[in-house]
Symmetry: C2
């Protein structure tokens, strides 16, 4: 099969390579409104989202392996470039690049677009000044897994298009609406206006997640507000929420890390909101030992 | 106050500094049966554990700030050394060292010592070939928060004394019994012999965590088996467990990352095993909106 790939780019000074490489910097991403997705999983998700990929870079060695991604990209009108291993190393943010990398258009939506569809919004996340891209990407992935309808990167939170965040999201960046940049107060207000109860995750809160679960209060539409890894949520931000909720500590740890706390909170909501389990499911095969 | 600190060590070739520095390597840690704990939180937890710290290194600049740690260490018979900033940078594994670092004795216990106390063992974790020290440390911290009675670093799992693992555990390494090195099969057998049902977390399992929760099967003593970040649990390891259980995916993510999946599973167990919530707790103040 003849792949729709142009002549190999072997110079890191090629204009296309230089332009793509600049997307490693936040300010230049924002100017171009484009970012990089690396590796077959992220590129595959970007292509599945459709109309997002503008350019695809593939090493000569990886062309056969990624023939289907190349075909999809070309079919969506993206430019496909073969590159040398040296150029890929220059473009990629990972130590061992996987041979395929896409330039993608920004996909974030405006705050007022969140939950605008007929299905409404039952579960959403606000990241308030979350700075670590790996943490933010992991929470995005967990929010996706829990069925959330959107994630807001609010205040001084990391850029969702940061390469580490894209990588940690494992494709989830392309799965659910993401809003970037609004002040935390605007984000909270927007979710409350859509009928969500905004719960601030705060280790010092008097109410625990168990209390809410036991009282059946997690069934209603909920927005979870998570704070900075190191200093949590300051009191003026806590005041914006409907309630502050602590993940209970059963042992001796002082706290959970952000990604773990978010997983516990989001799954408590997802389970509470899910339709009741059918009787006679696979669990019927399980017995007490 | 006169702090019990010896003359300042300013050379990275000082024998004490060289010996401590070697503890950055796993093989040399295992020979010395000692490891490094960095920063005031880890050092504080090591001192709280008692009888663990053999040497404490403090920069001259940080001596006043860490006077109480210095006093505790000296009181426990540890040697306290003032060091130059250059020596601390050489010893520390972090980019911005916090000025205090301890040499600690290994604290892991044997597999047969786990749950040997009269309280027994209601919740435990087996890490099966988990290689990333940040992930392993985070799961250790989450296991501590969920009230687990032990964590087993089984098979080819990372060394719990790896500096990134110690740091990610945020002190939890000193809070609950840790076992290192047994084959996965031995770890599973040991937990089953103590009456725990061993549940393997596996995204492909037909039974979900919700199924188990709904059936009340998480109340019994449980050992959670978590696999490698990239390849999960191979079938021969899955066969060792009593059941394989999937964290349900409500959205479009393919899977959760290890730390998030472990948080959801461990908290589901902790909540199921906890005594029922009192009536009229803080939740009485919360109302539906």
């Amino acid at each position: 099969m003849m792949l729709p790939v142009g002549a190999e780019l072997t110079s890191i000074r090629s204009p296309r390579v230089k332009a793509a490489r600049q997307l490693a910097k936040r300010a230049l991403r924002q100017r171009a409104r484009e970012f990089l997705a690396e590796g077959p999983q992220a590129v595959g998700e970007a292509l599945a989202a459709g109309g997002v990929v503008t350019q695809l870079f593939v090493t000569a060695a990886a062309q056969a392996r990624y023939a289907s991604l190349i075909g999809l990209a070309a079919g969506q009108g993206a430019d496909v470039h073969a590159v040398s291993g040296e150029v890929m190393t220059e473009l990629a943010q990972t130590i061992t690049p996987q041979g395929v990398l896409a330039v993608c258009q920004f996909i974030d939506v405006r705050l007022d677009q969140l939950g605008a569809g007929s299905a409404g919004l039952a579960l959403a996340v606000i990241l308030a000044n979350v700075r670590d891209p790996g943490n933010a990407g992991t929470v995005l992935r967990t929010a996706d897994a829990a069925g959330a309808g959107g994630v807001i990167f609010a205040g001084s939170s990391v850029d969702p298009y940061n390469s580490k965040c894209v990588r940690a999201s494992a494709g989830s960046l392309f799965h659910l609406p993401v809003v970037t940049g609004p002040p935390v107060a605007d984000a909270v207000r927007a979710l409350r206006e859509r009928g969500l109860r905004v719960l601030a995750a705060d280790g010092g809160a008097g109410t625990t997640l168990d209390d809410l679960q036991s009282a059946g209060l997690l069934r209603q539409p909920t927005g979870w507000l998570f704070g900075n890894e190191a200093w949590g949520l300051p009191s003026d931000v806590l005041d914006l929420a409907d309630d502050a909720v602590a993940v209970p500590i059963y042992g001796r740890a002082e706290s959970l890390n952000l990604a773990a706390a978010a997983a516990v909170c989001l799954y408590a909501s997802a389970r509470a909101q899910a339709p009741p389990a059918r009787a006679g499911g696979p669990v019927a095969n399980l017995t007490e030992r």
